[in-house]
């Protein structure tokens, strides 16, 4: 299987430079060819391992506790307005 780099980069919200595409294409397709080695393994009826120490349904008490202040939450952004994050419109400017 070959990766369609341009398509996948778009899915991942990455803007790649055209000059970098051939390099990534070669490197990534070598890696994909390697990991396809897994097709040799018979995994019929094998359960997946998603939680390796076997935990399930971990819950904690719903107790209110102090959290970060509004000022702290906004301390890392360059784009704010009236104590809120200022972001571009997402519904009408999609190209």
């Amino acid at each position: 299987m070959k990766i369609d780099i341009k398509h996948v980069a778009k899915l991942a919200n990455l803007k790649l430079k055209d000059k970098d595409l051939p390099k990534f294409e070669k490197q990534l397709n070598e890696i994909v060819a390697y990991v396809e080695k897994l097709n040799e393994v018979d995994t019929k009826n094998v359960e997946i391992t998603s939680q390796v120490t076997g935990l399930e349904n971990i819950i904690r008490e719903d107790i209110p506790a102090p959290s970060l202040t509004q000022e702290e939450v906004l301390s890392g952004t360059k784009s704010k307005h009236n104590g809120l994050f200022k972001v571009k419109a997402i519904l009408d400017s999609e190209s």
């Binding site: 990534f24 390796v52 904690r60 952004t77």
Partner: protein
């Protein structure tokens, strides 16, 4: 003139502090002096904590007032993946080059509560992606034993800083070998704990089902002292264990007589460097002399470890790095380096519509088979001895243009992450002027046993200290 206090272990430092032979201010200053002297050569630190001396002064006052917390006054370094309130945390990436966290990770909080002094933040492969340290956006860390060579990665600066006595100990993260490999390249002790033994909260996430939070020390005993502080349940990380945490120092001196130690036949094949093979055979012989029984075992799915890992890990990486959009903090996605871009694309591909079953699900099933290999093996043996890296440290630049070749250096380490088991990398001598080591693997939550085995071996070796 340096007073040499920076070369001490945690245990030696604590003894000196308790007996008032020196203060934490003196100990901390010795480390800072060493950093000042060698960091431009080694590039182990990205940020120095300007408040370290003040914190050391407070630790001395606390001791004066009768406190004896487990790490009171001990200077340590933190991999720059650990969030530190008010102290820049970069993930060694340009994306976060100006990021100042608003809170401490749980482990940092625990270390501070135990009295540790934070010297600064160490360099590593950006986002912990790499085996050599060369993927850092802030330049590679050099191996203190020979500056033409890599110190191993991803926790390159944490390993190098302990090896070069810039700190007494340091933290690391190990998702596929990122603590054990640099430990074995720098003559330091590196622990990758069981998945979920140490909280991941507040540590920049790489691959959430594999990330293990550990540390580098100069001795096995120090590694146990450190884990006694960091291990335990954290309500902020639902994957942490609720098991009662043992005292990891207990039984340290009890030796390995009667222990069954497994040697996987699949690990000693053509791919293993002959000098490393010889070195590990020497270690195995040592264990026999110490009274352990050596048993050949089989881990039949070993050869699929890397393929399985390089599907699961990039998949989870692509998901975890999706949050870096430059809106709430940090710079935008054009600032990702090449390796992060490769992993995001690879992971986005393996999770994308139509490919999920063929790649991600298949890998999660293979992961079960790898885990079961170990479960079977641990019915026959108490622990397993294994190489860490298939080759000695390589020269800077040797593998940077060949990512697949770089990935293959993780062949002996990724399987512990896939199986969720702990691994302790222990130094076992030198090949030429460069260090080598082996790892001890045990069942989940068997750290105490690994320390006991590692300590027994360490007692047969003389600790070689870097001449500086």
């Amino acid at each position: 003139m340096n007073n040499g206090l920076n070369t001490l272990t945690i245990r030696e430092s604590l003894e000196g502090l308790r007996n008032k032979e020196f203060s934490s201010v003196e100990l901390t200053r010795a480390c800072l002096d060493q950093i000042k002297k060698y960091n431009s050569d080694i590039n182990a630190f990205l940020t120095i904590n300007e408040r370290a001396i003040n914190e050391a002064r407070r630790a001395d006052e606390a001791r004066e007032n009768g406190s004896d917390s487990p790490l009171l006054g001990i200077p340590i370094a933190l991999k720059d993946m650990f969030l530190t309130k008010g102290l820049r945390t970069t993930a060694a990436s340009h994306v976060l080059e100006n990021y100042i966290p608003q809170y401490d990770s749980t482990v940092v909080q625990k270390l501070k509560d135990a009295g540790a002094i934070i010297l600064g933040k160490t360099n590593h492969d950006a986002w912990a992606h790499g085996s050599s340290g060369e993927n850092s956006d802030f330049g590679p860390t050099k191996n203190p034993w020979n500056k033409e060579y890599v110190p191993g990665g991803s926790s390159s600066g944490s390993a190098a800083s302990v090896a070069a006595d810039m700190t007494i100990a340091s933290t690391g993260t190990d998702t596929g070998g990122s603590i054990r490999l640099p430990a074995s390249f720098t003559n330091t002790v590196g622990l990758k704990p069981t998945y979920g033994l140490v909280s991941r909260y507040g540590i920049i996430a790489m691959a959430s089902s594999l990330d293990s939070i550990g540390h580098f020390t100069k001795t096995v005993e120090d590694s146990a002292i450190f884990l006694n502080v960091t291990a335990g349940n954290d309500p902020m990380d639902a994957t942490t264990t609720k098991n009662k945490i043992p005292n990891h120092l207990e039984d340290l001196d009890k030796g390995v007589k009667g222990f069954k130690i497994g040697v996987p036949k699949e690990y000693f094949t053509q791919g293993l460097d002959s000098n490393i093979k010889k070195n590990i055979e020497g270690a195995i012989k040592k264990f026999e002399e110490l009274g352990a029984e050596i048993i050949e075992i089989s881990l039949p799915h070993t050869e699929y470890g890397i393929a399985c890992y390089y599907i699961i890990q990039p998949s989870e990486v692509s998901s975890n790095l999706a949050r870096y959009d430059g809106i709430r903090y940090g710079n935008d996605r054009t600032r990702f380096g090449d390796e992060a871009v490769r992993r995001i694309i690879l992971g986005t591909f393996t999770l994308s519509s139509g490919y999920y079953e063929a790649y991600y699900k298949k890998a999660m099933q293979a992961r079960t088979l790898i885990r079961q290999d170990f479960e079977e093996a641990f019915k026959k043996v108490d622990a397993i001895i294994s190489p860490v890296s298939p080759t000695p440290p390589w020269e800077l630049g040797e593998k940077v243009d060949d990512p697949l070749k770089m990935y293959l250096s993780d062949v002996y380490t990724v399987i512990a992450n896939l199986a969720g088991i702990p691994g302790l990398a222990v130094p076992s001598g030198f090949i030429g002027d460069l260090p080598t080591g082996f790892q001890i693997l045990g069942p989940q939550f068997s750290e105490k046993l690994l320390f006991r085995i590692g300590h027994a071996f360490e007692q047969t070796q003389e600790r070689k200290v870097l001449e500086k």
